[in-house]
Structures are given as C-alpha cells and as structure tokens.
Amino acid sequence: MAIDMEQFKVTYIEESLEGLDIMESSLLGLDSGTADNETINTIFRAAHSIKGGGATFGLSSVSEFTHSVETLLDQIRNEERTITSEIVALLLTSVDVIRDLLAAEQHNENIDEERIEAVKKQFDALLESDTTSPGQTSSQEIKAESNQEQNAWLIDFRPHPDMLATGNDVVRMFRELTELGKCDINVDTNNIPALEDLNIEDCSLSWIVTLYSTCTKQQVEEVFVWVEDDCDLIISPLTQNESESSIENFEAIKSEKGKTKEIGPELVTKPIDRRNSGDRRTPTKNKTESSSIRVDIDKIDALINMVGELVITQSMLSQMGEDLNIDRLEKLKDGLGQLERNTRELQESVMRIRMIPISFAFNRFPRMIHDMCSNFGKKVELKVSGESTELDKTVMEKIGDPLVHLVRNSMDHGIELPETRAKLGKPETGTLSLNAFHQGGNIVIEISDDGAGLNKEKIRKKAIENGLIDESEELPDSKIYELLFQPGFSTAEKVTDVSGRGVGMDVVKKNIQALGGVVEVSTVAGQGTTFSIRLPLTLAILDGQLIRVGEQTYIVPLISIIESLQIEKNSINSVAGKADLYKLRDEYIPVIRLYEAFDIQPDSRSLENGLLVVVEGDGHKAGLFVDDLLAQQQVVIKSLETNYKKVEGLSGATILGDGRVALIVDVAGVIRVSQHGSNQNINSIHDNGVAA
C-alpha cells in the first residue's frame, strides 16, 4: 500500500524554513569573521536535511537545487575550500532561492525557473573551478555479467572472523539468496578452531552456495553489499552443466585462495582536527503568520497548576453551598475572594501563552540591514535590546510591516553615507537600534538611528506644498513632525526602491492604530531620530467604560474616551434643527445620540437629562449622549462575526458578570455612521416587518 507523502510535507517545509533561518543567521555570522567549525557544520546539516527531505517528500526542485549548495558546503567543512565573502553572498542568495521554492510549493505557485538556473550556474562555475572536488560521488556501477542466459551462480562466501561484529546475520543473507532462487548450500567447517581456542563471537565458517536463478550478478552482490569488506566473496556464473558438477568442484574451489573483490577505490579520510567551539549560535526562528504557536512548557505547567487551584476553590464553594447557613457567610466571602484571585491568575496565565518574545519580529532585520548596506553603500551596525520582551502573538505578527518600514526609512533617509558621516566627524559606521520594553500595560518599541535627524524646515515646506498646512500657521515642533504621518506625504527626493514606494508613514500609523497603539517621533537635527511605538499587550481584552442607554448596556473603550461630563444646557447648540453641537471649552463637538444610532428607547431624549461622553476616533472628536455611566472594567472581546456578521458602529461584544451580552462601541465607526448616514434604511424595515 502506497503511503502518501503529503502528510509529512507540511512538517518538512516548516522545518526546512527554520533550517534556512538558521543557515542565514549563521552565514551572517560567518561574514563578520567568526568561522568556527560548529557553525559550518550547522550550516551544512541544515542544507543536508533540506536536500534529503526534498528528495524523500517529492520536492525535486528543492532537492536538485540544494544539492549544489550541499556540495559546496561539504567542501568547506572538509576544508577543501576556504570561505570567502563571495561564497557567503552566494549562499545567502541560495537561501532566498530555496525559501522561494518552498513557498511556491506551499502555495502551489510557479517557480522562477530563470532565477534558479542563474544561481545554479554560479554554483556550477564555482564547483567546476576546483578540479579536486568530486561532484556527486556515484557508487560504482558494477556491470552485470554477460548477457547470455545465466541460470546459476556459484557463490564462494568466506566471512572474515569479525564479520558478525556489525550485527550482520548470515542467515539473513541466505534467506535473501533463497528469495532469488533455489539454493544448494554447502558449509566448510574446516576452519573451526579447537574448542579451547574457540571465540564465540568469531565467524569460522564459510560456504559455497549454488544458486539456481536467472538473476543478475548485481542482484547477488546486493545481498552481500553490507559485508563486502568483511568477507571474501567470489561470484561465478555457472552454466547448466557446470552447476550439476559443482559439487565435484567443491573441493577444488574450496582450496582456491579467495581474492578480495574490489568494489571501488578506498578513500582514506583525513583525520580532521576540529576546533570545537563551545559557542553554539542559538537557532533563531522567524515564523510568518501561522495558526499554531509554540509555547514554553513552563507556561503550560503554570496554567495547569492554576486550573488545579481553581478546581479546589470551586469544590470548596460548592460544598459550602450544600449546607448554607448564615454562620458560613464569612467563609463564603473568603471563598469567593479566593475564586476571584484564582480566576484572575488563570486569565493572566492564559494570556501569557499567547505572548512570545519580540525577537521573532526583530529577527528579520540582521539580514535586511546586511542587504541594504550593500544596496545603499552604507555601513550600519544593528543593535538590538529587549528582544526577550514578550507581546501577544497576533500583535507581533501585525507589527512586522510597520517595523520594516521604519527601519527601511532610517536606513534610506536617516543614516548618511560613510563619506558624509566622516565629514561630519561621525563614525563611518552608523548605528540602528531596536529596543523593546514593557511600560504599564503596554509594550514600547523604539527604532533609533544616529543619522541626520528630521529636517523640520523640509517637512514644513512639503506640508505647505501638499496643502496640509497653511504658510502662516505656527506649529510647535512636535506637530510638525507629526505631519510626517499624513497621507501622501513624502520628502524623499526620488522614490527609492525601498521606501516611499506608495507605502507611506500614514500607513504605518494606521496599522499601529489598528492595533490600538500610537506612534511618536522625536529627533535632533544632525544627531538622529527615534520612532516610538506603544502597543497594548493583547488584543482580546479591553479596558472599557460601561454606559447605559435605556435598558441596554454598552461598552466604550477607555482608550477612546477623553472625558465624561454632565451636560450644561447652555452649551448645547442646534444646527438647522437637526444636528447638535456641544461647546466644550473652546471647541464645538458634534453630539451623537446613541439611542438613535442604536435604535433604543432611552430614559430621556432631551440632552440636559443625560451625560456626554467625549470620545475621539480616527482623529475626529464627538460627544456620545448616554443615560448613565456605569462601572469601568476589563472586558473580554467576543466576536460578533463568528456567528453573525460585522455591524457598523460595533467592534464586538462581551459578556457581563451577570451573563448578559453587552455590545462594544466602535467609536470611529459610530462617528463615521453619524456623519455619512447608515447604509441600511432602518425605517423601511420597521414598516414592513417582512423579510426579503
């Protein structure tokens, strides 16, 4: 029954991608001068596994290409070739090629044949230039004997005494022979030593076997291939006549001195003196988005313990419940307090499972910066700190692109060319720092460079050009730098291949905001720039303000709330009898009547009887008119879309302590809807009451 290799392919591709990451980081290490044996072996093994697996699991394109890589690496590890930076560059390119091949396999896409051929040619050129290196060592083909119909073989088999030490079994070999055909086996016991000299581990027997079969000589040799060096083996063809008289020839043949059959040239391996460095580079993993997560076993253990405690507390409480009387009240309160602690700890434990170190996101940068350095002709050193700072897996996957853009920006526009830096008295090699740390309930990620800093004047001019600000406007520095994040803004003189290509700082800001975070920039002209990204640690939990409209409870994310206040009658202004504006200190903000937006029966429709929650969403301010403010609490975000669909103005739902569902307000959405009007015609649906 054929076993389907498909099931192993996924694992193979995953582990190969990891292997490629290891190869890449090891190669980058080689380039900077450290060339110890352990690293080289690591790189070799990675390529070797990829090649072997590729062939086994049906990815021939991968295995064919990787073969050249493996050959080259083999030469290097056997010290038949020295590593040069050209070789490292070629190997890095091959890593990219193999990555592409694997990705193409994963997503069922076409491969770029030309590119692969081009790179392969480079390998071939390199390998051919060194004549002492063997290409693929193919096992010597042992030609089959003459084509005439062979119907029998005479096999003279004399094991060396130590043949059995390798666990080989003569019985096994004879069994295989009998599968080829009928055998007459004659044993020669002449060489068995006297009992007192007998070493039971030695093989002192030899055999003459007549095999009646039309098989080839190669097939017979196959049977003995594992012990070919541990025995004397002569295989001679017999014609029909000869086989019949073989027994008569037995004595004659037995006395013949066996010749060792040469299978092939023996290569003596050079004793290699390896410097075994204790400094093994820890393998770095760089997973792109995947639906599985690797979890530290300690976290799982903590979780299991927590659940255990919870079970204990729960059973204690239920016991109390069985036999409830007023004396037990204190104990019940204690029990409930314990329950609360257990639950909170459990929640934290579970959330921690989704947390992984930001190093996963930082890992792509050494290679990226290495490549950009050669592309831009710049010298940059990457400094990373706080890479073990943990954040939620989903947040991390989404922060990758913004980080890349900011790093590219620093590399392209921030850090100057070596000559320029030298003239300014700066070291030729610039520094790009990535730093991450926890602060409050957030993670802060800083990208700093010691480059030219932001040019205030240039930004101002560009903003005026693009009509973002007025010529006459006086803006504080911080506001000017914020202009950088406006759509369509780019001060790059020419749109380089790397930044400014349609992906602007505005997209970076939007992506970060989508994660519930903020991005800020600080700079000193001539000295450098720092971008700071602040993100919440998890997406699934929200700090919310409970509000009441009529009988319904809603949640407004605390992060969107600027302030809440009692409505002053005098501050209400009406526009054209329809829209309401509220005067808040020195600005007018639109009032959104939530009961209207959500179609609820409120306590009161007149504004002065309710409260105003001033919120901000997507740059717009508004005041939400509600009946009452309730508690503030952390809520778990539940999806509406899982079983229903996305609703405008809502970002999800949550379950309150009493089990009721409360909807979470999407502030930006509500503001948008009130400005442009909802898509659905609410009134008509109410009138008809009949479905489509």
Partner: protein
C-alpha cells in the same frame, strides 16, 4: 458515518446512524409543523433576554451568550412574515449549526414549541410545491408525511444565510 447499508425501505428504522433516511426535529409555528435535520440541532433552550443589535431587520432579535459564544437569534414568525405572538412558557429557541461557504455558524431560531423527533425514510420525503410568496421555495427541502401530519422540512442553510442575513466575510478576519 457508516457506509450506507441496504435497508428495507418500508420499515421505519430506528438506528441513529444510517443515510437511507433522516431524523427530524419538528416544531410548531403558527399551527404548522416544521422539521429540521436533527444532526444540525445543537441544543434547545428556553427563551431568555436577548441583546438587540442596531440596524438589523426585525426578525433578527439580537444576540445571546451561549456559554461564552455570541449567538444571533432569529424569530421565525417574523422571518416568515406571520403574525407575531407574545413569548410564553412554551416558547423555545432551537440552536442550530448552519453551514455557508464551508464555514459553520451557530444560530438560534425562536419557535412556538418543540414537537417531536421522527425518522423519515428518503421515500417519505416529497419535493415541495410552490408556496407562492409566503415562504420562498429555497428554504424548504421538502414535505414529509408522518402519520396524519404534514411536516414542512426546512433547509436551514438557505433559510439562515440569505440576503438579509448578509453573511459577509470580514476583510482581514478582525475580531478576536
């Protein structure tokens, strides 16, 4: 699912797993008996308060918390444009698994009361006649006869997935 076995068509089978026929859960709605494939029924609950969702058709009453999952509840009387009644002691919510675009969702329907579970052999199912505009023929898989009663067998995947439910896949899959 076991492989189909040859079963005497005329006999009522009572084994739980065979695909020669279906098991239906039937319920009452405005005096009529309707049926749904029992394999799609997740559970049956009493009616409890629902959180209304703004800007939705009237028959979508809102959502409930079903052991931590948000589940929309649809009033079938409203869905079919029948006269609505007050929910009472026998009012029941049948929680169903609905499949669309290879995605499965959980939804609940409010009905007057649950009736029974019947085995219907494939033979006993007849194709639906044209009901006119009252109920679209898409929602009905067929008519089954159980004893003296006619059971209208509903195709819940069509019923609960049509236009106005607008089951739209969100871009980027947002929403934890």
């Amino acid at each position: 699912m076991e492989a189909a076995q040859q079963i005497d068509v005329n006999s009522q089978v009572n084994a739980g797993v065979e695909d020669q026929g279906d098991q239906l859960l039937t319920f009452i709605l405005a005096g009529e008996e309707y049926g749904v494939d029992i394999l799609r029924v997740q559970e049956i609950k009493g009616w409890d308060t629902v959180t209304p969702i703004p800007n939705t058709p009237e028959h979508i009453r809102g959502v409930i918390n079903l052991r931590g999952t948000i589940v929309p509840i649809i009033d079938l009387r409203m869905r079919f444009g029948l006269e609505t009644i007050e929910y009472g002691a026998t009012t029941v919510v049948i929680v169903l698994k609905v499949i669309s675009n290879n995605k499965s969702r959980i939804m609940g329907i409010v009905v007057d009361g649950v009736s029974d579970v019947y085995n219907i052999s494939k033979d006993a199912m007849k194709p639906p006649p044209d009901f006119g505009s009252v109920i679209s023929i898409d929602f009905v898989s067929g008519l089954a006869t159980v004893g003296e009663t006619m059971v209208i067998v509903l195709d819940i995947d069509h019923l609960l997935n049509s236009e106005d439910m607008a089951v739209v896949e969100s871009v980027g899959g947002e929403g934890a």
